[in-house]
Each structure stands twice: as C-alpha cells, then as structure tokens.
C-alpha cells in the first residue's frame, strides 16, 4: 500500500466537514429512538453514525499531520472553472426539467454543453443535439413508456393527432 505523503488543498476542510456532518447525523440517529433497545429502528443508524464519527476523526488526525502538497492549487487542480460551469449547466437543466419539459430543457442543455465542450461550431452542436435527443426520446418515451416531464409541449396531444392522422390517411 502506498500511503499518501501530502495533503491536497481543501482536503483538511473537506475532512472537517465530513466530521461535522457525521456528528450531526449521529445526533439525528440518536433522536430516532435514543438507546431504547437493540431492535429499535434507531439501532443500525446509531451504529453506522458512530463508526462514521470515529473513522472521520482518524482520517482528520492523519490529514493534519501531512504537509500540504506543493504547487497544487484548489482553483486549478481540484475545482477548475470548467467543472463549476458544467455543474451550473446541469443544475439549470434539472431545475427546468419539470417546468418547461424534457424535450426543451434537454435540447438547450445539450446544445450549450456541446458548443462549450466540443467547440466545433454551433451547426455541429445543433446536429449532434438533435440526433442524440431523438435517440434518447425514442428509447425512453416511445419504447419503454417512461413518461418524461411534458412541460409546455403537449406531447400526448401531438402524438394522438399524429396517430389519428395516420389511421385516417393510410
């Protein structure tokens, strides 16, 4: 086993946050059923969270002892802007999914993300967006009947019209 010999920027803070979260969860687990009985609904949560607290302490102590890794910066190596931007894009997608519907939000997301990451111009991005969206829509909505959020596009009405039209004309 090769143990790490230095810590990365932000690692100390992360491990500290983990410890705080573990303590909070331990307190929450205690609140379920206190130490009432071995078979209560709080038994396993208590066991799990106490192990979390102990191991979080061990990890934190180990991390404090290590020297900071040289030449590594949080903003460049751990959380570069590109990650932040993509996370924000995904967040937007998820927020808009229900209000404006799957088709529109996914199209916007794919188009922006591909233009930004692939950098081959907007025509290529648009083409790729349409092809991949059509594939995903066919597989999920049409074959496996997953009802994706419809939002502002009345998909079911459009499909009913298309199928009516087909049955009327053929």
């Amino acid at each position: 086993m090769n143990h790490p010999t230095s810590r990365r920027p932000g690692e100390l803070l992360f491990n500290l946050l983990v410890l705080i979260a573990s303590l909070f969860l331990f307190w929450q687990a205690y609140a379920i059923a206190q130490f009432s009985s071995l078979s209560s609904s709080g038994a396993l949560p208590l066991a799990a969270t106490s192990i979390m607290v102990i191991s979080a302490c061990l990890v934190l102590i180990k991390t404090i002892r290590l020297p900071l890794e040289p030449h590594v910066r949080f903003i460049r190596h751990i959380f570069p802007p590109i990650i932040g931007i993509v996370m924000a894009l995904i967040l937007m997608f998820a927020v808009m999914l229900e209000p404006i519907g799957f088709i529109l939000s996914a199209a916007i997301f794919l188009f922006i993300a591909m233009t930004f990451l692939h950098r081959k111009g907007w025509v290529v991005s648009l083409g790729l967006t349409l092809v991949s969206l059509a594939l995903v829509y066919c597989v999920f909505r049409l074959i496996f009947k997953v009802i994706l959020p419809e939002g502002i596009i009345p998909e079911r009405e459009i499909m009913a019209v298309i199928s009516h039209w087909f049955s009327a004309n053929f």
Partner: protein, 329 residues
C-alpha cells in the same frame, strides 16, 4: 409534402377546437405499489380490457413510496381531467389516523372498487393447533413465546390482530416483515409460527400442504377452503367488524368532469365483467365487487370506520378518528 403538412395542421386545429370526446389521448395509470405485487398484477390484468372500451392506451407506471402516499399525492397534483388514474389498494383509508396524510379515498372520486380479499390465519404445518380455539389456548398457555409475522402498523396483520385482541387478550411476539410475501416465506422456513394474511397470497401454499389454515376471518365459510369454520363461530363478537378485507380500486381527482367520470366508470365496469378477469380474481380468492358511485362510497366509509377505530383502540394510531369525523362502526 406540402399537402402532408397542411393535413397535419388541419388535424391539429380540428382536434383542439372541436374538443373530441374523452379520451382523446393516452391515459396515465399510476400504480401505488411496485412491480410484481398483487396491486400491480390486478391493475395490469384489468387495464387491457378497459383500454378496449376506451379506445386509447393506459400507460401504467409504478410510483411507490410512503405506503402509497406518494402516488396519491402525485395524482392529486395533476389536472382534474381524468387523464391520470390512481390505481391503489386499501392503505390510504388509514392515512388520517396513522398520521401519513390528510387525504383518503373519500376525498377522491371512485372509478371502480374491483375486488376485496379475505384474511386468513395460516400456521406452520407442525404447529400443535388446528383452529382458532386451540390457537388462542396455546398462546394463553405459552405467553410471549409464539412468533407472529406482521407487516407493520396499519397493515392487514395489525388490524386482524387488533380485531382478535378486542375479543381476547393475547401475549405474543410480533416479528415485522415488509410485505406478506417475505413473511409467508419466513413461515415456511420456520422463522415465524403464525401469520394473518390475505387468502390470495396463501392459497397455493395451502393447497400444496406447505402451511395450514387455522382461521378464516369472515362471517361465512369460503368455498376455496372447505371445512374451515369462519372465525365468528369461535368469536361471535367479531360479527360487527366483518366482512372486512383489503381491496383494490381505481380513483381520480376530485373535480373531474362528470361525463369523464361516467366514461371511465363505464369502461372499468365492463372490464371487470370480463370472464378472464373474474376467473383470475376468483382463483386468487378475491371477492369481485365491481362497484362505483354511492355503493363504493358506502364501502369505503365502512372500511375506514372499522379499521380506524380498531387501530385507535389497539393504541397505535397517531391521531384519533374523531378528529376527522370518522364515525364508529
């Protein structure tokens, strides 16, 4: 090409302006319980018959969670246009007293209550008791020793045991399972001794002799169980609660237009008369009800009264039935 587009456009405008009769698009059916459960099986076997009567597809979706509360909440968050059906079991009738929500089926419109199950007591084959009298005597003689499977507070087992406890005080150990399937498996493996369960879930095992019936929780004998006396022979006091049993029903949101409700009720009533469906339900030991309207409301209120008060008197309700003006049975 041009013609095609014009054709499509006219079709679109026509259908939106003329407002074709319900249903003009696919209907979404929300099943309260997971794939493979009894509610799922029943709904998936009736829907194709109803589809024929309605002329559109019913797209079935399982939406589990919160003892069915999540599905109920979802359906009630949709438009009251009859395009979203709630397909569920009896659980919501207990939500109020168990503190799981402030809505039940009485706050929705019933499309159809399809069928009702009959609870039975089953025991391990090697158990030294064969009927309810011997069973209760055995529990009395061995306090705390007998292991009875349960499916949580508000589940069928808890209510049947509450009924029994209202007649005779018993001291036993309750072993919880999440569903009657796992509990009945445990019964065959010897992890529990007795289990109150719905007849349909046990009938095949009983026929094969892998477990035995020791009690039929009904007022009358059942033709699937020849020679088993109804529980009221031993405990006549239970007559006021019976017949009682879990049920399956289809519901829509309050406020759905009358003509839509009529259309749906008609379709499902016709579907529930289909011989395949009747055959399937009877083989599983369910009593076909196929009721809607007043009759259904009466049934729902009766179920709610009996169960809520039993649960309340057994001491595991979160809120009193009185708070919701649920009358005593």
């Amino acid at each position: 090409m041009k013609k095609t587009i014009i054709g499509a456009l006219t079709a679109l405008t026509l259908s939106t302006t003329a407002l074709a009769a319900f249903p003009e698009k696919d209907i979404q059916g929300i099943i309260q319980w997971g794939a493979g459960g009894s509610t799922d099986t029943v709904m998936r076997s009736i829907s194709p018959h109803a589809e024929k009567a309605l002329g559109v597809d019913i797209v079935l979706t399982n939406k589990t969670g919160g003892v069915g509360a999540i599905a109920m909440k979802y359906v009630n968050s949709k438009d009251d246009d009859g395009y979203t059906l709630l397909m569920g079991a009896e659980n919501p009738q207990m939500y109020k007293v168990l503190g799981l929500g402030d809505m039940d089926y009485n706050d929705m419109i019933t499309i159809n209550i399809l069928a009702r199950g009959t609870p039975v007591f089953v025991a391990r084959n090697d158990a030294p008791y064969n009927n309810m009298q011997e069973f209760t005597d055995f529990v009395k003689a061995h306090p705390g020793e007998l292991k009875i499977g349960s499916t949580g507070n508000g589940g069928l087992t808890s209510i049947v045991m509450a009924m029994l406890q209202s007649q005779i005080s018993l001291d036993y150990t309750s072993i919880p399972y999440n569903g009657d399937g796992p509990a009945l498996t445990a019964l065959q493996g010897g992890a529990i001794d007795v289990m109150p369960a719905v007849l349909g879930a046990t009938i095949e095992q009983i026929k094969a002799g892998r477990m035995k019936v020791i009690g039929l929780v009904d007022k009358e004998a059942n033709k699937l169980l020849p020679g088993v006396a109804p529980i009221t022979d031993t405990f006549p006091g239970l007559k006021s609660y019976l017949p009682w049993g879990p049920f399956f029903g289809i519901f829509v949101k309050q406020g759905t237009p009358d003509d839509v409700v009529k259309k749906l009720q008609g379709a499902f009533q016709q579907a529930a008369f289909h011989p395949d469906f009747i055959d399937l339900m009877q083989k599983r030991g369910f009593t076909i009800l196929n009721i809607s309207g007043e009759e259904a409301n009466y049934f729902l209120s009766g179920y709610r009264s009996t169960s809520s008060w039993l649960v309340h008197e057994a001491g595991f309700s979160k809120r009193s039935p009185e708070e919701f003006n649920i009358p005593r049975p």
